[in-house]
């Protein structure tokens, strides 16, 4: 099958959606499919895999509490159209087409079997509801929609008035399953791990740091291993900060701790970091966010603590540190449960969506007869 995938975000800016697209593309290629990805790339020097085509540079605009990337000008539209023409795709797969981005531009310029994946979960997105009627002209071209979680699906149903099938995010289990602990870890005093942007309040490192003194009452020797981008206000006693790490070092971090903490306070659509921890065999304490509770099967696969509540988080971490048998039990349960999220399985489900979408459309992917560029998109948004 020939698959064209469009990323809304720049290839060279690390992020969940871009990582998802790269993993999906590689899983499809491993199954023998022809895959082409079109994406913004901010730095001309960035080395790219041979399946990636540059769409141009992106311009950041704030949107929905984060930053959306906008491609300007008819140059991008012309490039998208040439890519669509040359690709002769059986299916076009656009990611997060609800953002004003390359994905929407590609959707505007293509017709035929088109699938979209919706990544975001914003229970109260007023912007999305406001844009619904103007997005409708483009979204009605979709042959099928995927949501990465029930929360993301609910966002589509509530704000875009559509529906989607749920295909979860994937994880490369083999990358995480065999990792060796870092030298000197976990040690005898108890070790807790954290992965995520350290200066992003929604990731909850502050909550974990507030919980640390409370955990120390029961486990005086406890150490915290932290990895992630951002500015860390340290040093803090008992905390080792690694900064941004590679995937393989992330796997080693997860193998180095007795408890992996995910103290996020909100804004999570899925919780891919939990899958990575499960694959690596790290027992989990996570906030009781809907998305997390679902991945952790309401506490069967990890312990839940009140989101944003350091006392509850400290109690859960202390409890798990004192219970080696419970940790072993969680490790075993999680290792079995995470198999369902391996990219080999998830990729099969995405292919099932492609095939269903192709069967529900006529012909293959072609360009629209009339070019749609960013100004036309804007006009459409303003008038329709």
């Amino acid at each position: 099958m020939r698959v064209g995938i469009v990323s809304p975000y720049p290839w060279d800016v690390p992020g969940g959606v871009v990582a998802h697209i790269a993993d999906l593309a590689e899983a499809l290629i491993a199954r023998g499919h022809d895959v082409a990805v079109m994406t913004p790339v901010d730095d001309d020097e960035t080395p790219l895999p041979n399946y990636v085509t540059r769409a141009g540079r992106s311009v950041p605009i704030p949107y929905n509490g984060s930053v959306s990337r906008l491609l300007l000008g008819p140059v991008s539209a012309a490039r998208v159209r040439r890519w669509l023409h040359d690709g002769e795709f059986d299916v076009l797969h656009v990611h997060s087409p609800e953002t004003f981005s390359l994905s929407l531009l590609a959707l505007g310029n293509a017709q035929g079997p088109i699938v979209a994946t919706f990544h975001a979960a914003n229970p109260k997105s007023r912007i999305l509801s406001m844009m619904q009627s103007s997005l409708q002209v483009y979204l009605e071209k979709l042959s099928g929609s995927i949501a990465v979680s029930p929360a993301a699906r609910k966002t589509i149903v509530d704000h875009l008035g559509g529906d989607a099938v749920v295909v979860p995010n994937g994880v490369h289990i083999a990358k995480y399953a065999g990792a060796l602990p870092l030298p000197g870890w976990p040690g005898g005093g108890g070790a807790i791990g954290f992965v995520g942007r350290v200066d992003e309040p929604r990731k909850g490192l502050d909550v974990l740091l507030a919980a640390l003194p409370l955990i120390r009452r029961e486990h005086p020797g406890v150490r915290l291993l932290v990895a992630g981008p951002g500015k860390f206000d340290g040093p803090v006693d008992g905390v080792t900060f690694l900064g941004r790490v590679s995937d393989s070092d992330k796997a080693r971090l997860l193998a180095s701790v007795d408890v992996f903490a995910a103290p996020n306070t909100g804004g999570e659509s899925f919780g891919i970091v939990l899958l990575e921890a499960m694959a690596a065999g790290a027992p989990i304490v996570a906030s009781d966010l809907d998305a997390f509770a679902r991945v952790l099967d309401d506490g069967e696969l990890g312990d839940l603590a009140g989101a944003g509540d350091p006392i509850s988080l400290a109690a859960a971490c202390s409890g798990l540190l004192s219970a080696p048998a419970r940790r072993d039990q969680l490790r075993t349960a999680a290792r079995h449960a995470v198999a369902r999220y391996d990219w080999s399985v998830v990729c099969g489900e995405v292919l099932r969506v492609y095939e269903t979408a192709i069967a529900a459309s006529t012909g293959r992917v072609v360009e629209e007869p009339v070019e749609v560029d960013v100004t036309t998109l804007e006009q459409g948004m303003a008038t329709s």
Partner: protein
């Protein structure tokens, strides 16, 4: 004179908008037809798989008979009308009853179980995609310009397809074996 020019401009704009909407609706009608064909194909496959599945795994006799009969009725019911909805829901019910009385037929890995699971999922996907397209068509048909200028013409008024989807038990996915090092 100025009024005349203004009137001509307004008429031209309305005509352009009507033309664009008519083209949009035309395309949506084609899409809903394709989606209906896709859904029909997936429902037929599901019925065929249900028949084959009932014949190849060992179900309780009454469950097997109910499944075979429901699958046959569904396959013989044409179109996507109310009687098809009833017939497909009966297939779902027969599958769920079989899953309750002989869960091992579904959870023991076998080609028939894999195909059955796949066919049930595809039918539910196709149904969701079809209903989504129906919703898009109905939204555009509901626009004032479409109603007043009768832009929908004689195109069939599409209807949602409602039925119970079968969430079937499946085989446990084996744990990836790797150089796993136990702590």
């Amino acid at each position: 004179m100025a009024y005349l020019i203004a009137a001509v401009v307004v008429v031209a704009l309305v005509a352009l908008y009507a033309l664009r909407t008519a083209r949009r609706l035309d395309r949506l009608h084609a899409r809903v037809d394709a989606a209906a064909a896709g859904l029909t194909a997936q429902l037929l496959r599901r019925a065929a798989m249900a028949g084959a599945f009932g014949a190849s795994v060992s179900l309780k006799p009454e469950a097997a008979a109910a499944l075979a009969s429901a699958a046959r009725t569904a396959a013989e019911t044409p179109g996507l009308g109310g009687d098809r909805e009833v017939a497909e829901t009966a297939v779902t019910r027969a599958l769920l009853q079989a899953a309750t009385s002989s869960p091992e037929s579904f959870t023991t890995p076998s080609p028939a179980a894999t195909e059955m699971h796949d066919a049930a999922l595809r039918a539910s996907f196709a149904r969701r995609f079809y209903n989504d397209t129906v919703r898009d068509v109905l939204a555009v048909r509901d626009l004032r310009v479409v109603r007043w200028l009768r832009l929908a013409g004689h195109a069939r008024h599409p209807a949602y397809f409602e039925m119970a989807d079968a969430e079937l038990p499946t085989a446990q996915i084996p744990v990836a074996s790797g150089p796993t090092i136990e702590p």
